[in-house]
């Protein structure tokens, strides 16, 4: 009884299907990911006769930029997976939720800049910290996204078990926590800080409780 009422209430503010939000997010993620590669500039060698001799060294110099490309690509991958993972449970959208999504995307589209900054100044604490701050803000926006959708079962089915909601939230908060530590570490060693960002992906690649819940719900239906 109560569940049905709740569902009606949930939909009464609905303005957009979640499909449109996901389509915009997919577009934005794929562009931000591809733009990351623009940070890796083709080396200019003058005069051209020296190209064969100097290119090996010049490509070696690109290694940090390529490594940071890979890290940022995977970090965006993590957030893409997390964003869509939430939409496996979220089944409605209202206007404030729409704007939380636009805030989230605004921060995602900022990642190529932060990557470019850290890639040019890898040994300047502030550059490394700006990168970490960007990730903290994205984590915060994703947390807000989940919090808004789940509070009072606003945009999720009333049958969602509370431990799922809690589990997903804790999972989201891990990255910002690591980044906060990395920001402090950067004062001492920017490199150690970068290594911490690079270690984020392995954790997230491992399966999570949310996966299993989504499966169980789908099997039931």
């Amino acid at each position: 009884m109560e569940g049905t009422e709740n569902t009606q209430d949930r939909h009464s503010h609905a303005f957009m299907s979640t499909a449109r939000i996901e389509a915009l997010a997919d577009g934005l993620f794929s562009i931000a990911m591809t733009l990351l590669a623009l940070n890796i500039a083709v080396p200019v060698i003058a005069p051209p006769e020296n190209a064969a001799a100097l290119l090996p060294r010049k490509l070696l110099d690109l290694f940090p930029a390529i490594a940071l490309y890979a890290v940022s690509f995977v970090v965006l991958g993590i957030y893409w997976v997390a964003h869509h993972g939430q939409f496996r449970v979220i089944d409605a959208a209202d206007r404030p939720f729409l704007w939380i999504n636009i805030l989230f995307m605004m921060l995602i589209a900022f990642v190529p800049f932060s990557t470019s900054l850290i890639s040019r100044y890898p040994d300047v604490p502030l550059a490394v910290q700006t990168y970490g701050l960007t990730l903290i803000l994205i984590g915060g926006a994703l947390h807000l996204h989940w919090w808004y959708a789940t509070t009072g079962f606003r945009l999720i089915p009333p049958t969602t078990p509370p431990e799922i909601i809690r589990g997903a939230r804790n999972r989201i908060l891990l990255a910002p926590a690591v980044c906060a530590v990395a920001i402090v570490v950067a004062f001492v060693s920017p490199l150690a800080s970068i290594v911490m960002y690079a270690l984020l992906p392995p954790f997230y690649i491992a399966p999570a409780a949310l996966d299993r819940f989504v499966f169980r719900r789908e099997r039931r239906v």
Copy 2:
């Protein structure tokens, strides 16, 4: 009786499903939004030894560009929401309507240029006014979009209540009206004009009558 006839007439010029138009618009919006971030250039510091000392100041100098990035991103978000909001009611498309959409997208894809211009010359009235003019033209195209679709219930269900049509139209016209004032204000104070653009989003983020109508219609079906 009359309603059925009208529906047939509405579809007799139909050429494309609205889904394809929305897919193109989603792609275009997501790219324009991501390109906005390219305006924020990573500062070049020479010689590199000074990077640690000079970066804080250089990043501070980027603040106006970052603020304008946020404003333009949210402005594009407003128009994306408004464009899709219209498609919750519009359920058919004909050739002139298609071209109104292409005009609309052409203006949307122009926003990164206007943002780049205002971001480089924030204290030149003409730069601030070009930005405002772009928003006025977008508002005008969106108004034409709604006017064309709703006149004689051309591309909307004949059962759409007139107050919904009127409400959405007035809502669209608000932004151009504010921009027109901002353009005049820019002659005296470009900064005051920029503040006016930044105040547009809060209004649009608040819920609107259209939302509630869409909900009610969907509940019925």
Copy 3:
């Protein structure tokens, strides 16, 4: 009888749904359209104190680039409409057809370059002719696309009336014909040639026989 057999044959080479092709094309068109705007460079004024005085003139100098942006955007719009229009009738895809589509997209993604070229050298015949040649090649690819799909009702329903097939083909060939003339005209007057390109859109914006056919078929089903 014969129709059914033909349908089976048509699908026996099918490899991909047309939906995937259309999704890739939508992405590519929206990016090519947005990149056109990157041709309009924000003027650099040095020293900055002169910005207020010099900007009006500098923006005026951008007028040809902005006009060419509009022309190219609309030209891409024409081809997007034509491409999707064909997919209203085409309902299957095989491997050669897939590659015709990739060829078509390769030429579409080349339009920003041609636009940039004509925009920088509007009074050099070769630049104006390169633009025209690009449009001729796109028209040729689109013609091949339609020819391959319709020959022997390969990828279209066997019930498609022959006059529809012919009508759409003639329509496609108009733009390359105009461009061929424009290329010759460019030897005498590059400007007259550009005007001819700008006159293409009005013709295509008018409704076409294909529209009406699609409607009639959909109404029947």
Copy 4:
């Protein structure tokens, strides 16, 4: 019996529909393809009076860059077709599979850089080899993609005939094998190596066993 159990197991780790992965891949492919064209820079001629006289020669100089644009576009087309071809059989996704996809996309987004490198230094072995290495890594990722999905019928229907799985795998491995030879050849003749890359497309454009299987399965259903 066994088949049914297998299917349940296959879905028990499922986290995302394959539709979302395909949408992200479509976006990424279309952007990477369009960005390839940015490698073809509009020639700068100074002073402008000489433009008419010098442009023919300058455009001729662009020919290698345009040829490499075409090759890379078609190469990306091959991988797009192969990626989607796999998804005609794959009907589920789990987390490791998701990350294999993100790895695949990371390598795809790297192709514009490799193309730009080979395009600027076509006669430097290392540049030609970097391009080949990128294609080998993409082929490897695609092979891993297929291997992971098909091993133990993890993400494919248990009824998929083994010869289909083998056929698709061998097909994937052809490109990396050719590229490995091309990398060795580049030490002697970079140009011969580039020609080998250019010969890859014709093989893949020919129809494949997978096509026919997909058709037969769809007909049956």
